[in-house]
Subunit: 360 residues, 2 copies
């Protein structure tokens, strides 16, 4: 049987602080069953790529502290499929590790890199798009990103402006943009030239290694020096020594915004980064009273537009609350208007300043 | 040494549903350390009467399900000092049991009957008032109640109207009143004739037994028939058989409102029945931001006038909440405006209708 050279790398190391305290350092966003389906966001990400690559070709990149959680939620993974980062160094170093590791085993490999904490609907469309992306990067020296057709003038996302079309639905990238304000976002959407940047990348190992060598040579050198140990029992010691010495830098900044062979496949499956409580509210089924409940039972009186994310099947009885976030996990309870969710980051900082790491 | 014939009966069988879910059936109001002093309301009640009667003369009347909690909180009590009611039958039957039991051991006894879930300040004044009350009932065939000098036109309490003065500060009772509306409460307070009914009673065993025999003869007959077993190991079986057959009736309705020898000692120690969340709020020290916290730590932003009663030293982070009750105990969380606290009873009923006894 022909060897399958397609791989999937699921990035799973985030701490999800925007959903604090429902998402805690000890069990961040990607490990939570936000949709009430019985599967966490990570498990849904895994399920989504299962039809696309052989299951032994799936790697999960995560922080060392989450290895147990990953093993628990994805029991089919062999230990060597979980790459445990000894330190948090943003996306470029961990993607490099994955690329060099895969390359050491299979120099002909192509790969998709995907976050584990986003919501995607339209699995069949997703699968078709990814297969087409694999075909494209396997035939071209291309760094491919997926651009989602925007359905609203979202100010919380970065956008990709498309350039020259190389095939229908496949374009050169003209620019990556920062998050726009509302006026600009409206212009973006109307233009038909701007797509949401979902942070999903595809390339061959050869192409991404070449890009690292060109734009981030110190990272490339570091992993080149580990060629003999990658995929062997000695890899752990190598990574524990070298990984923390990598610069903390995103793949977007390190590579994608610099390289000239960057392409975008414009896709139209449903996508949401679930980056905010409001996004979660908007993407969750509502009760008759317009409230969203996560893992709890709610008796609501004169209360609408709230999201109750309360662990452990607790009963929440609420009167006279409109458009609030009520989040509870163990020893922390948060009550905050949805309109003030941007301040949660500050609250987490305040909690840290007052109490250290106890409540993170 | 002369035998001390003074006794104290602490009533401790309530379920405190108005503070649900902070007060739960499994640990009601009187067992909670509301004041953050390290002593529950029951323990504070016990401490208050300790100087007034020998400690072996203190009896605690409680529901059978709370015997363990009472023993835990008052470890000095001997088992025979805890009278465990096999059923809830309001105050008259349990007071009768206590009177007949005490009388069987000590026919010359006098006694004070006091709730365990009220707040009293001014312990020295309380002690003076109670000693004077003992002196009065020991010299007169009197059913004495304590009337608190009202400090505001409270609509949540019953009032006692005083009649003829028999000694300074000791009057015949003219009438017991229902809870007045605000206008009437103002008139009451201005008149100087109306005092809060604290539900604290004093009498000799002889006087109260006589009153029961006159006004509730079936209860008197029942306990008369147990004369030989009260205070013996056979009492348990007698009570388990006879007590549930008693009518469920309050001492006020059964005796105090009917008898002609009812007196009131007007007192001025601080008293609050802690019958509502607002009463608890008003009687608790406030943080700088005007919030009251019970057993929890609060980081408050743009939030004032709230009461946070959250068990287990939880961290509560709150933004944009004014004048709410936030109560959490284990598997129930309640969020409700203070102004709507009257509806909590309905919420408890709804919870019961939906989920049975699980969350009570």
């Amino acid at each position: 049987m022909k060897k399958n050279h397609r791989y999937c790398v699921i990035m799973c190391g985030g701490i999800g602080s925007r959903f604090w305290p429902y998402s805690r350092t000890s069990k961040p966003k990607q490990f939570i069953d936000f949709m009430g389906t019985g599967r966490s966001l990570l498990q849904m990400s895994y399920d989504r790529v299962m039809p696309l690559v052989p299951k032994e070709n799936i790697l999960v990149l995560t922080n060392a502290m989450y290895v147990d959680l990953v093993q628990q939620q994805l029991p089919d993974l062999a230990p060597e499929q979980i790459l445990a980062e000894p330190a948090r160094r943003n996306t470029a170093p961990c993607i490099a590790w994955a690329a060099w590791r895969i390359g050491a085993m299979d120099p002909e490999a192509s790969m998709i890199v995907t976050p584990s904490d986003h919501l995607i609907s339209g699995e069949a469309l997703f699968a078709d798009n990814v297969r087409r992306g694999f075909d494209f990067v396997e035939g071209n020296d291309a760094l491919l990103t997926l651009g989602i057709s925007p359905t609203r003038p979202e100010t919380g996302y970065g956008y990709i402006q498309i350039g020259e079309e190389v095939e229908p639905g496949l374009n050169k990238v003209k620019t990556f943009t920062e998050k726009p304000d509302l006026e600009l976002a409206k212009v973006f959407v109307q233009s038909g030239e701007f797509f949401w940047n979902a942070g999903i990348f595809m390339w061959t190992v050869a192409s991404i290694k070449k890009a690292f060598r060109t734009y981030v040579p110190d990272i490339a050198d570091k992993f080149d020096s580990g060629y003999d140990v990658l995929g062997t029992p000695a890899e752990r010691e190598f990574i524990d020594r070298e990984f923390p010495a990598c610069p903390s830098i995103s793949i977007d900044y390190a590579v994608m915004e610099k390289a000239s062979n960057v392409y975008v496949e414009t896709v139209s499956f449903g996508w949401n980064d679930l980056g905010t409580w409001s996004a979660l509210y908007d993407n969750s089924p509502r009760n008759n009273d317009g409230n969203v409940t996560q893992q709890c039972t709610v008796l609501a009186y004169n209360s609408h537009g709230n999201i109750f994310a309360v662990r452990d099947e607790k009963l929440v009885v609420v009167d006279g609350l409109e458009d609030y976030i009520v989040a509870d996990a163990g020893d922390v309870l948060l009550i905050c208007p949805k309109s003030r969710e941007q301040s949660i980051k500050q609250m987490v900082n305040d909690a840290k300043n007052h109490f250290g790491d106890k409540y993170l």
